[in-house]
Subunit: 339 residues, 4 copies
Amino acid sequence: MRFLSDNATPLHPRVLAAIAAADHADAPYDGDVWSGRMDAAFSALFETQVRALWVSTGTAANSIALAALCPPYGGVLCHEDAHVEVDEGGAPGFFTHGAKLMPLPGPGAKLSPETMAARLATIRDDVHQVPPRAITITNATEYGLVYTPDEVAALGDLARRHGLGFHMDGARFANAVAHLDCAPADLTWRAGVDALSFGCVKNGGMAGEALVLFGDQANARAAESMRWRKRSGHLLSKGRYMAAQILALVDNGLWIANGRAANAAAQALATAIPGRLLHPVQANELFVRLNGDEAARLRAQGFEFYDWGEGAARLVTNWAQRVEDVAPLAAALSALGDG
Amino acid sequence: MRFLSDNATPLHPRVLAAIAAADHADAPYDGDVWSGRMDAAFSALFETQVRALWVSTGTAANSIALAALCPPYGGVLCHEDAHVEVDEGGAPGFFTHGAKLMPLPGPGAKLSPETMAARLATIRDDVHQVPPRAITITNATEYGLVYTPDEVAALGDLARRHGLGFHMDGARFANAVAHLDCAPADLTWRAGVDALSFGCVKNGGMAGEALVLFGDQANARAAESMRWRKRSGHLLSKGRYMAAQILALVDNGLWIANGRAANAAAQALATAIPGRLLHPVQANELFVRLNGDEAARLRAQGFEFYDWGEGAARLVTNWAQRVEDVAPLAAALSALGDG
Amino acid sequence: MRFLSDNATPLHPRVLAAIAAADHADAPYDGDVWSGRMDAAFSALFETQVRALWVSTGTAANSIALAALCPPYGGVLCHEDAHVEVDEGGAPGFFTHGAKLMPLPGPGAKLSPETMAARLATIRDDVHQVPPRAITITNATEYGLVYTPDEVAALGDLARRHGLGFHMDGARFANAVAHLDCAPADLTWRAGVDALSFGCVKNGGMAGEALVLFGDQANARAAESMRWRKRSGHLLSKGRYMAAQILALVDNGLWIANGRAANAAAQALATAIPGRLLHPVQANELFVRLNGDEAARLRAQGFEFYDWGEGAARLVTNWAQRVEDVAPLAAALSALGDG
Amino acid sequence: MRFLSDNATPLHPRVLAAIAAADHADAPYDGDVWSGRMDAAFSALFETQVRALWVSTGTAANSIALAALCPPYGGVLCHEDAHVEVDEGGAPGFFTHGAKLMPLPGPGAKLSPETMAARLATIRDDVHQVPPRAITITNATEYGLVYTPDEVAALGDLARRHGLGFHMDGARFANAVAHLDCAPADLTWRAGVDALSFGCVKNGGMAGEALVLFGDQANARAAESMRWRKRSGHLLSKGRYMAAQILALVDNGLWIANGRAANAAAQALATAIPGRLLHPVQANELFVRLNGDEAARLRAQGFEFYDWGEGAARLVTNWAQRVEDVAPLAAALSALGDG
């Protein structure tokens, strides 16, 4: 059974059905009825008027968001383990035309206002230094931790005071909201977030994330982002198939149900090995102390997962794994003892 | 009935079936078995060892190809009506980091070696002028004309003599090959083409084109293009769904069958109005003299198409339209007389 | 005697003296007293509050201006013979991050509102096409013609109506103003110009042009341009030597005196060969019908100049040539007759 | 007396004389006799065939060098306090089209092979991560320390083994060589350096540094760098004035004499306060423990310098300060005692 990543799972049946249901001619690009429903669907979800654009990947969503928030000569504060910093092949630099990511430390890939403020204080306001113009956080983080609405709001407050745009990479936004059981609005625009990459691919989709823009500047940023989407080759001719997937997740709450399912599976595993957890398990990722021998034993039983440096492993659950599905792994982990 | 464009048609049933067949977990990105078959499938099609990468759109395929062939300070000779020049929202400038498209005239959006040579002769070889480094042609062209293997080879020869990379935008490559009934190899690498954007979306696919790289430098350019694919946010997590679509078209010749079908429908229309054609009909596009009154009459009968400037219209057929399907339009056109 | 170009002449003695006078320690970059006087000096010259930044070259001034006026996904209307289009090695594409120059025809390298309007009318307002965001003209033009204040104002009006920024490449601005004997203000901001590259190097300077920003957005654009100046490596440590040169030209009207001198020398030549002129002589450049034999005869007499295609030559005068200095060439030209 | 920086000192008299001596018409750009002598002059200095291009600033020299060594999707290892990282306003990101600087720690702004190797080991060789392609070091460093030939060679060896280009920022190269009393060749190409920014402005020049390219690829990189120089607006029309300055420093060893003078002045100060030095004094910079009260006392005596964080100051000497000139400061420092 696979616990490698949630990024390669099959499609949720309703997503595949939505693709089939969209399979007739309509206006090209984003002129079709599905694409036309994006703004309304996300506005309903976020309880305010938003703009929502489909794009192919989380990397594209993040990059277009950063290009909308930061000029080429500016900087973006991020965590040193953030996906934008370590796993996007330089895409942020490409889309922003060379803006500088400014990586910061923090446990569990979480950033605090204090860390950000301390970094900001070191930057002189002259043309010799790159001026910070945006911050980006990932929620849930790359280590499966979740920022609360209050924590986001504290960062949003700092962003506002320093005139910085605020982006949230929500590749696992569903898992974050499922953990918090909060309104999506509380975790985003009410906390000062300007742009959200709303993840779908890890949550039952095939290809396509939503770039959601909040606030006064949403329309202006959407207009510009649509230029960037085209300019980066992301404006699909048959956009309806992408919009249909995303809407299948957003309509009727499939997205949050899937997030809850993945989280529940993770909790079932976490409960089996509380003593081995390297980070609290809040979303759908477990980072587990595991020596080579133990890892081999698990793999011999058919469980697939990645090593995470020396003596540790990462286990990722997904929407398709029910608690009963992961019970064998829970049992196997439990059998390892506390090590 | 729709003759607006071939870029918004439904999926060929075998493409949709291929997506469903790929719907189980596999390695992410391009590590899956479908992606792993791309090189071999295209090598068989082109009768030589090639490299083939899936990308989301024709714009992305064209842009990555140009980035592989032209440095940021260089220039790319193209037709002034080329898709790269007029319809890609500046994507070539984005991917090449500011390289200059050098538009040239030519009837039917075709370029001749003479036109290219004349332009090249005007460019001084000093740092004040942008040095041409690549040429790009579209086959079939934006006006539905087809370059023959000999015509391509003449351009390829010129490219070789001037040290220029040679790219072919094959958004309608299937229609070109179907018209010529030639080997794909004759129209590409045997004629000096270095890189081909092999179109699928207009030919029955959902999203995804193949960037095919030929020749000695194919591996080096593929390695670089894979960096660009990631960097531009085009490396899908679940690449298998894209590879599966493309393979469904390439395997068993569905791509050429679809190209033939679209061409045949276009010929059925062309035969009905030989006196009104503004360009020879070789692929699946008709440019037709049509006044406002005539256009209105056709639309009243349920035929949809775009005006093409004053007194003209564009009609595009697609793989899903059989000759009998387009017979009503052929009859309606015929009834208009020679105008 | 050299009539090759005005870009390689010696320094005006007052420029060299100004460099020597600035030769003591002061604050680095643009913190010195000379740099601090730029805004005031140019505000006085233009009879309004302006911002003025020194940069190393006309190419840098033009490029930074275009970057301030046009986003990376936008387009800039220019003449097809404009320096930015043909002689800056792709610098505008570099500084604008890939914005598209949109070249237009026009006699004498001059653009008309009609030509611009016609081009604008062909551009659809959708994301597939590059949206025009700025226009740039050269005054005096690359063929030595001069736009009048009314002609500039007509273009400025068109720019305003279409929401386009308006840049003037004034590498030979002094020659244009000298020809018109108008207020610099009339030729620039009063006619709708947003940004001017004020040329010094062809007019007695060593290195350094002034980028002058007009209007409501001058401060915002200056702040951004200062980022670009640093980012492109154009913020000299010892900026005072550059500011001192520019001020030596602007203070006490040396710039216009030099422009008048160069123009007068050109007129002296033009008068000698009215029948051979390919363009009216308004500034300091002559384009002259001249066959190979005639050219050889002139060169044998020690006159240096460039051929300008087949059967023509370009003669450029400069500030250091008095009418009596060019009398020998005038005589030699006159002796050739009307050809 | 000023100890703020060496970047705002007057010109060495021989530099000013060289500018005056170059003040007659010659071929524009780099076609003049002074520019034509650059390669030979630097080849003699470095005892091997090199290519040498003048550019306006150190930022431009560094950026063009990095663009020549690193593709847009690559990374450049540098020190976290390096000028390229903290003081060039994002220029490296601009010229490299978004390549990533990868900052590393190390005392005195020096990098060790061990630190670099450790960082390299963390980077996976896949398209998700930015591949390192170059390293850059500053010699003398931003803290006035000097890499020895052996230390450079150890980094050069690591660069070669990992296929990385190797750049040295030599804004204070003269001070480094003066300290080591070694052959310039030993500190550069013999130690594996591919490209050197040879500083002149801090060493008696007005504007202009030399980008020196070594090794097999020097010609190819020079050809490309000349494109970049033009494209970034750094190709001055009257390049002779810049070349003449640089040659005035290189010919007859003025550059190293100036470096020695500045170092000697720094040593004279260092000797006065051995107990307060925060870094060894090897070049022309002193970082000194100094509380607010002490700093105020020095300033009251007319000494100008920058604070360097809390309780510290930076003192920079320059070529124009003889030991006897700085004796008053030495005495004043000495009078402060060990604090």
